[in-house]
């Protein structure tokens, strides 16, 4: 399920399908197969015993105004119903989130208006899930997106799941977004933001196969800072993991191989 629709002012219409699909090499974590965005979302939820995931890019600089990117693992029938009913007008996850920076647990949303109750009722009939978490994504060019995951866990279980997976979800949200924006050519793979000296040092040791603990000792910094530098290097290189960051660093001539 990959489609895009255009939004002009308050009037939202499903007018446009981007012909280019988000296909190509893509993985979250190590050793995942090359897949498209929807398959990557499916793999992400399966590996973590979540129910569904959805990605929605709602601000894409340089594209026609209001062009959006959507990929979900929801049942196609729900997505069709969602657009037929124009639920994007009232969906609190979508409408609340446009300018929000903090993650939103669906439990914290006001469900008292009748239409919102009906919306969540129908979503649940289509198997969307009892629990949900939406993470806003902000990119380097003013690009913005929302990544949401859902679960059928009970309230108490959900609190534990969310706490345990939060970091994973926050990183994954950005990785999915980087993938989508790179495929739209918004981010060119040649666009690499400058890496600091420490980031390069840590990445160079990672290229030599050193572990986080080794690198900390070799560079003479804490493990926590090592983690921060490597994560930042990964992000700046538009990479999904450290291995890919090393490969990109080498191909850009920033570090030497092995």
């Amino acid at each position: 399920m990959f489609s895009s629709w255009a939004l002009d002012g308050p009037e939202v219409q499903m007018t446009k399908i981007i012909s280019q699909t988000l296909a190509g090499e893509f993985a979250v974590g190590d050793g995942e197969p090359a897949v498209d965005l929807q398959q990557a979302l499916r793999d992400f939820v399966q590996r973590r015993a979540l129910l569904h995931a959805a990605y929605f890019a709602h601000r894409i600089p340089g594209r026609p105004p209001g062009e959006h990117v959507v990929a979900t693992t929801y049942a196609p029938a729900w997505v069709r119903h969602y657009f037929d009913q124009e639920y994007f007008r009232i969906d609190p996850v979508v409408s609340v989130d446009r300018s929000t920076l903090l993650p939103v647990d669906w439990n914290s949303l006001d469900r008292s208006p009748k239409r919102i109750r009906q919306f969540f009722g129908e979503a649940s009939e289509f198997g969307v899930g009892r629990q949900g978490l939406a993470v806003p994504v902000r990119g380097p060019l003013g690009d913005r997106a929302i990544f949401a995951v859902t679960s059928n866990a009970s309230g108490a279980e959900w609190d534990d799941i969310r706490r345990e997976l939060m970091r994973d979800i926050v990183i994954a949200a950005q990785v999915f977004h980087q993938k989508a924006m790179s495929d739209l050519k918004l981010y060119e793979l040649t666009d690499v933001r400058p890496l600091s000296r420490r980031e390069l040092e840590c990445l160079q040791w990672a290229a030599a196969g050193k572990t986080m603990q080794d690198i900390a000792v070799l560079v003479g910094i804490s493990e926590r800072m090592t983690r921060a530098y490597l994560d930042s290097a990964r992000y700046k290189l538009n990479a999904q993991n450290i291995a890919q960051a090393v490969a990109r660093g080498v191909s850009h001539g920033l570090i030497s191989a092995g």
Binding site: R224, A228, S232
Partner: protein, 214 residues
Amino acid sequence: MLMIIESHEAARFERFTSAMFRLRKKVFVDHGKWDLPVEGDMEIDRYDREEGCVYLLSVDETTNHVRGSLRLMPTTGPHLMRDVFADWFEDPVVLESPAIWEVTRFCIDPEHQRGPYTARGLNLATSELLLGLASLANDMGLTHVTGLCHAGMMAVVKRSKWAPEIVGVSDAPATGRVYLGVWDVSAEVVARLAEASGLSPASLFGGKQVAVAA
């Protein structure tokens, strides 16, 4: 009491955000002599106006007086270290990651530097802001927060139970000596700050519910 306000909600919480902008002018421009844009008696920049940020405010729940505040922004988009501060450092550390957010404009009203105090004898506004920051950052899944501190604030945070790693020092003309700190975020940090202050993370946000907190 601690409030979380996002910049897009500033109008709805105008009374508190105006007080915060006035406090920031008092602390950074009037006292600190930082060269920052001001609008009347308020210090407001383009990040507040355009880019979007999250504010933490320590508020006296009986008088609604803003005792201190800080500003949080994701480092994946426009932020001060990337756009402004990097030029101030010879070897700048610009961390960018969805798991690392930037703290700026951390300030305590000079009137409140001598109290009130928590039951454990720590400054209440400082304790609320540090515990609130650690707790929110941990709930959001962050691994670190990073930020620039002037010497006075750095002295305060170094004495706290959440000392940062200092990864840069600069004598910038606009601000005088500033330090770039990186704070690690974990449940242990939250527990340690709660223990030290006697405050409870759960009861900290008397005003608005944190979205990520169930």
